[in-house]
Symmetry: C2
Subunit: 203 residues, 2 copies
């Protein structure tokens, strides 16, 4: 298809498509004449991924580029790839501490294996400090509520990876980390609404 | 305590404390002389909540103001208060559609009661469109994975509200919606890490 059709089908303006090509985020089309290139379904799929990460997740362009780079070079240790994917996602923490006492205590309580350099440790520590600041409960039963739910969810999320080629597994892991989060949060909010409506109707 | 001590204990610079007072986000201190006001533990607690919402959650100031207003005027219908709290939290969706076909189908699949004007419906729809764009699975079993986990979590989250005064319940609901989310996401990422390390070690 022509650039104009690619733009129309993806909903991404032509100028933005050209920008992504210049930035190396989208491959060039195949030159079919001196003035025209041809684009394929791969280009369309890539544009939709970029749009999902920028528009829906609201990620800064530099972080989207990091995530695309992980998908494009899917070699390497899966744990390191996960670490880099999580590092490209908000919340962006300073990560200049070397302790994270609240996160360490919580992780120990939940019996998780962890690496102190994994960004999610710093993210958890900040999140727990915010709870403490706001006077919200972060006692072991509350931590287990979230920890157990997430461990179960994570187990189900990882299961399909067993049958995937490595490049598919990396794409799934990287995009899945970014794109299932908003689904989960929206469903939590909807569940609150549902339960509140129910309890109010019962009265 | 003096303004200087309030600043030191909260970690919020004096100029920022003064800005919050001017903006009505923090009450004035009690004037003890022409040039000095006295601040209490309430001021410190409020500053910590503002810091948690701005720094840790990264919310824009206008949204923090919306959330504080909900906490300060805790009268009204709990469902409406939840709706306004969720509206003040990201992802900020345009909300200019009146359908949300993907969200409606998912909500029906999960058997949730919903109100199409509740912002989380638009948020879910956008999140599901992003999954579709990225070619990620959003079939009923996957929706149930997240929906069931969130319904269970939400039930446990709402339980303590039964014993609270109305103003406490509103504060808990509003801040809890905002501040438990990052904890849950960090724990999901840590659970992935834990499970990947485990599966790699097994090989």
């Amino acid at each position: 298809m022509k650039m104009s059709e690619l733009s129309e089908r993806s909903g991404v303006p032509v100028a933005t498509v050209k920008f992504y090509i210049r930035e190396g985020m989208l491959p060039r089309g195949e030159a079919v004449s001196a003035t025209r290139s041809e684009y394929g379904e791969d280009h369309l799929a890539r544009l939709r991924v970029i749009a999902a990460l920028t528009d829906v997740r609201g990620l800064p362009l530099a972080r989207v580029r990091d995530i695309l780079a992980l998908i494009d070079a899917p070699a390497g240790d899966p744990i390191e790839i996960l670490g880099r994917a999580v590092g490209a996602l908000p919340p962006y923490v300073a990560g200049d501490r070397d302790d994270y006492p609240l996160a360490r205590a919580a992780i120990a309580e939940l019996g998780l294996t962890y690496d102190p350099d994994f960004t999610a440790v710093a993210q958890l520590d900040e999140a727990l400090r915010a709870l403490e600041a706001a006077g919200l409960d972060a006692t072991p039963p509350v931590l287990r509520r979230y920890g157990d739910a997430m461990r179960r969810v994570a187990g189900e999320e990882l299961a399909p990876m067993a049958g995937m080629r490595q490049d598919e597994a990396v794409t799934y892991a990287v995009l899945g980390t970014a794109l299932y989060e908003p689904v989960m949060l929206a469903l939590r909010r909807l569940a609150h609404h549902h339960l509140l409506v129910d309890s109010t109707t019962d009265r």
